[in-house]
């Protein structure tokens, strides 16, 4: 120990140790008493000051705690291992990992052999993915105490995550040679972990060999079978793979991955287009055999429908559907829905169900029925319901509505019908009517959480925010303690609430919700911190590595992608609206609602050790309407963070790239803009919105380019545009003239180039047969140039709210 510390009598040594004990058992009062006793005699004792700081922070006085520790550090001239360790602990509890790592590194400088500090440090380095530091730390620990087998495994995992897979294998072998292998499950985990690394390296032969070696020692037969099957497929040992997959199907006949593997092993690719007739027939035969083995399997009955064509398809479909109808299974349409990509199949589906309908109405039974017994009335009901779904999918909105109304007349107590009606209204843009139907459905069964959630979603889409909130919290009344959407990380609610605010131009409130989603994602990663230590101790290695990889890609989950896109749109809108957004952010009604909501929320209570209750103060400053977020200095920079996330984690999402183009154009960053354009073209070449943004880019770039940009942009741009914007525009309309969306984009470009106004207007008025989204775009553009397309739009979508204003 350092000589800065004052000499200590045994009594005080014991007192100091008692502080540590009391702290760990959370007896803060006693810990404080002991600390104060020592400080009475040795007022400048750095270690005691540090411990006292730690205890004080645990009782809630954060700043005081930090100050005490800093005092202790200064007294020891920054060279007390214990003080630095305490500092590190405090930063770690506050999730400030970077600072914690620095503190720990300092602690190690003065306390070089302290393994506990090193383990803590390693956990944090893994958390922030500092692989270099992690490898060093784990290596040191291993060198210090090679007798503890756990250190070998920790080092192996570090090597694996850092990418040194071969070395990891060597280390694991070291573990196996010296380690305590008495627990069969732990041994099994380690061996299978080793196997997974061999597989990752890309060595299917080695993997298979290793699996054979460990045949008697592993305890996860499913994983072994799956791995074996994958490797056999890779090595094209199809006969063996087929057998393995059959064994897997015996364990679980409904697993689509097994079926895909099985089909591949039978020599057939998964996509239907590349199969010739012989292959299809042999596949159907295979599945008929499987059906004999597993007669109750829903998947085995369903998969042949993907491959069969013509009359064969119709026969199989008939059999498949009748089961659903006679057992009144509501998910019939969901089961069939993926077949709609094939127009010939769609026609056959329609024929089949029309025949059902007429037969049921005329004769009371399905066509070609066996007995003279009449079908239950529910058969007709579900046939009508299916037809409603069917026409909705084909965008025949009126017909779908007719069918659903007929079904409601037949059986008004079927709740699904009101939900379906709500969906139909939503598809024609009548969000208010849709919300009413959803509410009707919810009233039928107030105990059903699914109906409640749907109702909340529809209400938010109709911008009935306060109503939605009340419905949402209906389920909170029965829950104990405090319940609010934020603490429950209810990201679907926050996203939709934010979208509603965005539509109503309440940009600050919208941003608050989207940032909430971002915070939740980060919380989720932080919350897993303890697993770094736990997984290694318990040797749950494969799941641990899986978790680390999941954390690395967590921003690709759809909640975050949706929130990121919305946040970018909000920032761009803030920039466009300038100062007016400050007024539109909160209305008088909003202020009233906030008062009411605060009253209904109980304040959080936290029990301290004496059993009394004290209120926990919120850590962040209250920003009820998101004004801090909205008034930020540089909205473009904030938006760019989200754009970079989208490009990295959602690279296949076209909308994300379109927003990126818009952002970079606003920022005049042409190099990044062209990169996004290139990527978007890979995803969807003829996309209408992309066409507009490409032309706008070309125009602005042409006006503002500089030499540096030219080097990067020109070689990329030349691949699709030779500089004549007008011709590019005209070519596009020739290729895509039938789609209304394309017409709108071309009109917008012509307006940019200040061309023939009349042609522009005639283009956007010609909206027959357009989809709802295309009409919305056209309508918006019309408003921008002062043309009210309400009449034309109402012809297409008479019920849509937006066109009735």
């Amino acid at each position: 120990m350092t000589n800065v510390r004052e000499p200590f009598a045994t009594h005080y040594v014991q007192l100091f140790q008692s502080i540590v004990k009391f702290y760990e058992t959370k007896n803060f009062k006693k810990a404080l008493k002991a600390a104060d006793e020592i400080l009475a005699k040795y007022p400048a004792h750095s270690d005691t000051l540090a411990m006292k700081g730690l205890v004080i922070k645990a009782t809630g006085k954060v700043e005081e705690g930090y100050n005490l520790v800093k005092e202790g550090l200064m007294n020891s001239k920054f060279s007390s291992g214990i003080c630095w360790h305490v500092m590190g602990l405090m930063y770690r509890d506050d999730k400030n990992h970077e600072q914690a790592i620095k503190a720990y590194m300092n602690a190690l400088r003065y306390d070089t052999q302290n393994i506990k500090i090193m383990n803590d440090l390693a956990c944090m380095q893994m958390h922030v993915r500092d692989y270099k530091g992690l490898l060093q730390t784990r290596h040191k620990v291993l060198q210090l105490k090679p007798g503890m087998s756990g250190h070998w495994i920790s080092y192996a995992v570090a090597q694996h995550m850092a990418g040194d897979r071969q070395k990891a294998l060597v280390t694991i072998d070291g573990f196996i040679s010296i380690g305590d292998l008495s627990n069969p499950y732990e041994l099994s985990e380690v061996l299978l972990y080793k196997n997974s690394i061999i597989q990752e390296i890309g060595n299917p032969e080695g993997t298979l060999k290793h699996l054979k070696e460990i045949e008697n020692k592993h305890r996860d037969p499913i994983y072994v079978l799956e791995t074996r099957a994958k490797c056999e497929l890779q090595l094209k040992r199809n006969q063996e793979a087929k057998q393995t997959y059959q064994a897997l199907l015996q364990l679980n006949s409904e697993n689509h991955a097994y079926h895909a593997g099985y089909q591949q092993a039978c020599g057939l690719s998964n996509s239907t287009t590349s199969c010739n007739d012989d292959q299809i027939q042999s596949l159907l035969n295979h599945y008929d055999e499987l059906l004999v083995q597993y007669p109750k399997s829903a998947v085995i009955k369903r998969i042949p429908l993907n491959f069969a064509t013509g009359q064969e398809f119709k026969n199989r479909l008939d059999k498949f559907v009748r089961t659903y109808l006679s057992k009144t299974i509501p998910s019939l349409f969901s089961a069939i829905r993926s077949l709609y990509s094939d127009p010939s199949k769609v026609e056959m589906i329609q024929e089949l169900f029309s025949s059902y309908e007429s037969s049921l109405i005329d004769q009371g039974q399905l066509p070609n029925a066996d007995s003279s017994q009449k079908d239950a009335p529910s058969t007709l009901l579900w046939t009508l319901t299916f037809m409603a779904h069917h026409h909705d999918k084909l965008s025949n909105h009126e017909k779908a509505m007719q069918y659903v109304n007929r079904a409601i007349e037949h059986t008004p107590t079927l709740i699904e019908l009101y939900q379906l009606k709500a969906k139909l209204y939503k598809h024609v843009g009548a969000y208010g009517l849709a919300a009413d139907q959803a509410e009707l459905a919810r009233q039928c069964d107030l105990a059903d959480r699914h109906l409640n959630t749907k109702s909340v979603k529809y209400l938010l889409r109709a911008d009935r925010v306060q109503e939605a909130r009340i419905v949402f919290y209906n389920f909170a009344k029965d829950m104990e303690g405090n319940f609010n959407a934020h603490d429950m990380q209810c990201m679907w609610y926050e996203n939709r609430l934010g979208e509603s605010h965005l539509r109503l131009k309440k940009y600050g409130q919208a941003l608050k919700q989207f940032h909430n989603v971002k915070d939740h994602i980060e919380e989720m990663v932080d919350d897993q911190f303890d697993f770094h230590q736990y997984s290694l101790r318990k040797l749950v290695l494969r799941s641990y590595v899986e978790m680390l990889r999941w954390e690395d890609k967590i921003k690709s989950i759809h909640f975050y992608v949706r929130a990121a896109k919305n946040a970018i749109r909000t920032y761009l809108s803030i920039i466009k609206s300038g100062d007016s957004c400050k007024e539109t952010n909160k209305t008088a009604q909003d202020l009233l609602d906030l008062e009411e909501n605060k009253k209904s929320q109980k304040p959080k209570k936290k029990k301290n050790e004496e059993g009394g209750e004290e209120e926990v103060l919120p850590k962040k400053p209250q920003d009820d309407f998101g004004e801090l977020l909205m008034n930020v200095q540089d909205p473009l920079a904030q938006a760019e963070k989200f754009v970079l996330d989208l490009i990295k984690f959602a690279n296949d999402d076209l909308q994300g790239h379109l927003l990126a183009i818009e952002l970079y154009l606003t920022k005049r960053d042409y190099q990044n803009a062209i990169r996004s354009i290139v990527r978007a073209r890979e995803l969807d070449l003829e996309n209408a919105e992309l066409h507009y943004w490409t032309c706008r880019f070309a125009q602005e770039y042409g006006a503002n380019k500089n030499e540096k940009d030219q080097e990067v942009v020109d070689p990329l741009m030349v691949t699709f545009m030779n500089g004549d914007l007008n011709k590019y525009n005209q070519d596009y309309i020739e290729r895509n003239g039938k789609r209304y969306g394309a017409k709108v984009s071309v009109a917008k470009v012509m307006h940019l180039l200040e061309q023939d106004e009349q042609r522009v207007v005639s283009l956007i008025k010609d909206c027959g047969g357009a989809s709802l989204e295309e009409c919305l775009r056209g309508f918006e553009f019309g408003n921008e140039i002062g043309i009210n397309l309400g009449e034309e739009m109402r012809r297409e979508y008479p019920l849509a709210d937006v066109f009735r204003v």
Binding site: Q373, A376, L380, T413, D445, L446
Partner: protein, 179 residues
């Protein structure tokens, strides 16, 4: 249709998610039938059912009464997981009075109505009551036929039905102890 063995009259929980009785054996294939107690959480379904019979406005008083009586006195008839009918009863004096019994038009002639009457008889039994009564509007012959088939006898007393302001007959059925 044979009378199935009944449960001992023990009816558990008012939780919507659990069945109140074991599902009855289907009388034909594809015809799954069970009872579901009516509580506050699903009373809306009753209102929807009633829209068919009572063109007049909903009498809120009636529904409050149904909720108060609880799921032991009012049941939905659930056919293939859809509520297609209902029976609501209450105790008046020493008799169980059926204040409402109804089946959707598309689901008639399937034995649902019979089941609902059986349920009413069960309710009477569990309350140690031996008489069922029901009011049938004078003008309605269909219901009258159905009720008579069920073993009710007409008493000539006319009375104002609580739902409609028309006159109606009172029908009673005395329950013989069941085997």
């Amino acid at each position: 249709m044979t009378k199935d063995k009944k449960d001992s009259g023990k009816i558990n929980t008012s939780n919507l998610l659990s069945h109140n009785d074991k599902p009855e054996a289907p009388c034909k294939t594809g015809f799954a039938f069970r009872y579901q107690g009516i509580i506050e959480k699903n009373i809306q379904q009753l209102k929807i059912l009633n829209k068919h019979i009572y063109a007049a406005s909903d009498k809120e008083k009636f529904y409050t009464e149904v909720i108060n009586k609880g799921p032991n006195f009012s049941y939905f008839a659930v056919f293939n997981d859809i509520s297609v009918g209902a029976v609501c009863t209450k105790q008046i004096g020493g008799k169980i009075h059926i204040s409402l019994i109804h089946v959707l038009p598309a689901y008639r002639k399937l034995g649902v109505g019979t089941r609902l009457i059986e349920k009413a008889a069960e309710i009477a039994e569990s309350n140690k009551i031996k008489v069922l009564t029901i009011n049938v509007p004078v003008s309605d012959n269909d219901i009258a036929n159905f009720i008579t088939k069920m073993g009710f006898e007409k008493e000539e007393v006319t009375t104002k039905d609580q739902h409609e302001d028309a006159d109606s007959y009172v029908y009673t059925k005395s329950l013989v102890p069941s085997q």
